[in-house]
C-alpha cells in the first residue's frame, strides 16, 4: 500500500509544502468522497468510504507536525518506544514540573490570564521543538529525532490538558 506521502504525490520529508498538501488532499477527496457516489452501486459506496477514510487519515497525519514527525520515524524503521523509553533530559523534566505546578494553580484559582500565559509559553516551546525535530529528520538522523518526538508528545499532551482546563474554568 502507498504511504501517505506517495498518496498525495509529495516528497517524503518533514518540510512539506502545506499548500500543496491541502490542494492534493482536496483533489483526492474530489475523486473519492462518498458525496460523489450517493447514487452509485453499493460496491462503489463501500470503496468510496474506505478511500475517503484513508485520505482523511493521511491528511491528518501529514498536517500535524507531531504526527508527521512520528510517521517519518516509523517509515524509516525507528521505533518511537513511547511506552518503554521514558528517559528525558533533566532540563526538560524540570520545565515540565514547573508548568504542571503552574497549571494546577491556575486551575485552583481559576486564573484565565495565567492559563493564557502558560498556553503562550507552551506554544513557543512546541514551535522550537518542532523546528529542531524537523532539521534532524531532514538530515536523516532518525534516532535523535525520535527522542525529540517523545518530548513533543509530552508537550502535545500538556496542550490538551490546558484546553480541558480552559473549558472547565470558563
Amino acid at each position: 500500500m502507498q504511504n501517505h506521502f506517495d498518496l498525495f504525490h509529495l516528497p517524503q520529508c518533514f518540510s512539506i509544502d502545506t499548500a500543496a498538501l491541502d490542494a492534493a488532499y482536496h483533489e483526492v477527496q474530489n475523486q473519492v468522497h462518498p458525496d460523489k457516489f450517493s447514487t452509485a452501486t453499493d460496491a462503489e459506496k463501500r470503496v468510496a468510504m474506505q478511500w475517503a477514510t484513508r485520505a482523511n487519515e493521511a491528511y491528518q497525519t501529514l498536517k500535524s507536525p507531531f504526527k508527521r514527525a512520528a510517521y517519518l520515524c516509523e517509515l524509516n524503521g525507528v521505533d518511537l518506544q513511547t511506552e518503554s523509553n521514558t528517559a528525558m533530559p533533566r532540563d526538560f523534566l524540570m520545565q515540565q514540573m514547573e508548568w504542571r505546578e503552574a497549571l494546577e494553580e491556575a486551575k485552583a484559582v481559576k486564573d484565565v490570564g495565567a492559563l493564557e500565559k502558560l498556553d503562550h509559553d507552551l506554544r513557543i516551546a512546541r514551535k522550537e521543538e518542532i523546528e529542531q525535530i524537523g532539521s534532524l529528520l531532514d538530515a536523516n538522523d532518525f534516532s535523535q529525532a525520535a527522542q525529540g518526538v517523545r518530548q513533543l508528545m509530552f508537550l502535545e499532551k500538556f496542550k490538551e490538558e490546558i484546553g480541558y482546563i480552559f473549558e472547565t474554568i470558563e
Partner: protein, 621 residues
Amino acid sequence: MALLQISEPGMSTAPHQHRLAVGIDLGTTNSLVATVRNSIPEVLNDEEARPLLPSIVRYLSNGRAQIGYKAQAAQTTDPKNTIVSVKRFMGRGLKDIAYVENLPYDFIDTPGMVQLKTVAGVKSPVEISAEILATLRQRAEDALGDELVGAVVTVPAYFDDAQRQATKDAAKLAGLNVLRLLNEPTAAAIAYGLDNASEGIFAVYDLGGGTFDISILKLTKGVFEVLSTGGDSALGGDDFDHRLLCWIIEQARLAPLSDQDTRVLMVKSREAKELLSSRTETHIDARLGSGEEVRLTLSAETFAQITKHLIAKTITPTRKALRDAGLTVDDVDGVVLVGGATRMPQVRKAVGEFFQTTPLANIDPDKVVALGAAIQANLLAGNRAPGDDWLLLDVIPLSLGIETMGGLVEKVIPRNSTIPCARAQEFTTFKDGQTAIAIHVIQGERELVSDCRSLAKFELRGIPPMAAGAARIRVTYQVDADGLLSVSARELKSGVEAAITVKPSYGLSDEEIAQMLQDSFKSGDIDAKLRALREEQVEAERILLATQSALDADGNLLSDSERTDIVACMDAVRREVQGNDHDAIKAAVEALARGTEEFAARRMDRSVRTALAGKRLDELT
C-alpha cells in the same frame, strides 16, 4: 465524477433526466421541505401557501394522526395526545429530558429512548417524527408530480450518534431514501456560501427551537471545510419560552397549573417572545381553567434580563469551537445567523458583541437550512455536471471512546475529526482462558464512563482459551459520511476471526423498520409488497446501468475472466428483474455488488492517480 453519466460530459442533462430530490429541515418547532427547480432553490409550500409545517402531531382515537397546523390548533385542548417539540425526545431516555415535570405526556421509560402513551397507542419519537417527514414527502411529491429519488435530512451538528440514528430511522420509516444526514449549520453555510461566492473563515451561529449549534468553517473555491463544531443539543427558543412561563407564574403568583393551563401560558409566552423581536413592550393576557385572569406587562429589557443566562450558555461552546479550530475572533471573516430564535434582538446583540462584527441574516433564518439541504440534495442526486460541483468536508461533534478498566473512557476518535474516519485499537484479555470480552462504546468528552453517553454494549465471544494478555483483539470504529458509527471487533492472534457490527442499542434494525412500514401501509391504500417490488426493480435497473457505464469506461482494468464474471452477475440480475420475486432480485443485486467491489476499487485508484497526475502537469505549465 458522476457514475450515472448518461449524457456526454459538457452536455447539459435533458430535463426528463432531472432527478427529484429534496432537502428537509426537521425542526424542533417547524419543519420545511425545499427543492431546486430550474437551478433555483425554493421552499415548497402547502396547499394554503404556507412554507412552514409546525412539528406537531396529534393522535386521534381512531388511530389516525393530524399533523401541523391542525394539530397545533388542538394543543391546548388535547395536550396529552398532541406532541410538540418531539425532536427533544429523539434518541433520549427519560432522565435526559429537561423539564419533564412541565410536559403533559404519559412517558414510558423504555431503555435507550422514551416512548409516549397516546390515545392511538404507544408511539416512539421515531414514529412521531416519521409522521412529520411523511407529510413533507407527500407535499413534495404532490408539488413535483413524481416520486422522489431521495432526500437530504438535516440534524443539529451537535446531535450525538443516538439522535442521528433515530433521525435516519424516522426518515426511512417515512419512506424516504436518505441521501445524506447533513448538519444544519453546514447546510446554512452552503446556502450562504454559494449565494455570495464567499471565501474565508465563517462562523455559523444556529439557535433553533430546541438546539444550539456553532460551526466554524473554512470556505475556499469549491470546498466547504468544517474546522470545528460545538453546541448544546438541549438549548433553544423553547428554553426562552419556558423561562418566560416561569416568570409569569412567579409574577402572577400562580398555584401549580393543570396541563391545559401550562400549555395555554406556554403559547402566550411564545407569542410574547415573538412580539418582542419588533417591539419594546408587550402584554400577556390569559384566562385560566379556574376562571382566574393573568394580566402582565413585559418589556424587552426585562425579557433580555431574565434570559441572559441562556445566551451566556451559547457563548461558552462558541469559544470552545474557536479554540478547537485553533482560531481567535479576529480570524473570523463573517458570522451567519440561523434559526428562528436568532430573531431575538438580545441574541443578535450578544453574537455581534462576541465576534465584533454585524452578523449576516439576509437569508430567512427559518428557511436557510432547508434551502442549503435542497442544494446539497440536488448535488447528491447527480443533477450537477462534474466540475460544476463542490466538496463538503464535515466533522463529528463528540469524541468516541471505549470503556477500559475502572470505568474510564479511552478516546478512540477525537471530536472534530473529519468524516468519514476510522480507527482501530488493540486490546487483550486479562484472565487466563478468557473466551469473551465486553466492549462498551461511549460518546463524550469526560474521563468517566458515567459522565458520558453509552452508545452500545456488545460481547465478542468464541475467543480460543489463551493465557491472559495473549489474545489480540482489534476493535475498529468506523464513522460514515452521515456521522454514524459502526464498531467491529476481531481476534487476530488465533487466526479465528470473529467480527460483530453493532448498531446502537436504541436503533431499529432494518427488519423492524420494514415491519413498521408494512404495518403503516395496512391502514393506507398502497400495496406495500408491490411498492417494495417496484422499488427493488428500479434500483436493480439503475445498478445495471451504472455497472454497464463503468465497464464501458474502465473495462480495460479487468482481465477477460474477471469481465466474464461481472457480466454473468449482470445477466443474473437482468433475469430476476423480469420476475416478481423481491428477495431473488435483492440477492442478485447483492451478488453483483460483491462481484464488482474489486473493480470499483481499481477504478477509484485510477481516478485518484489521474487527478493528481493532471494536477502536476498543470503546475508545470
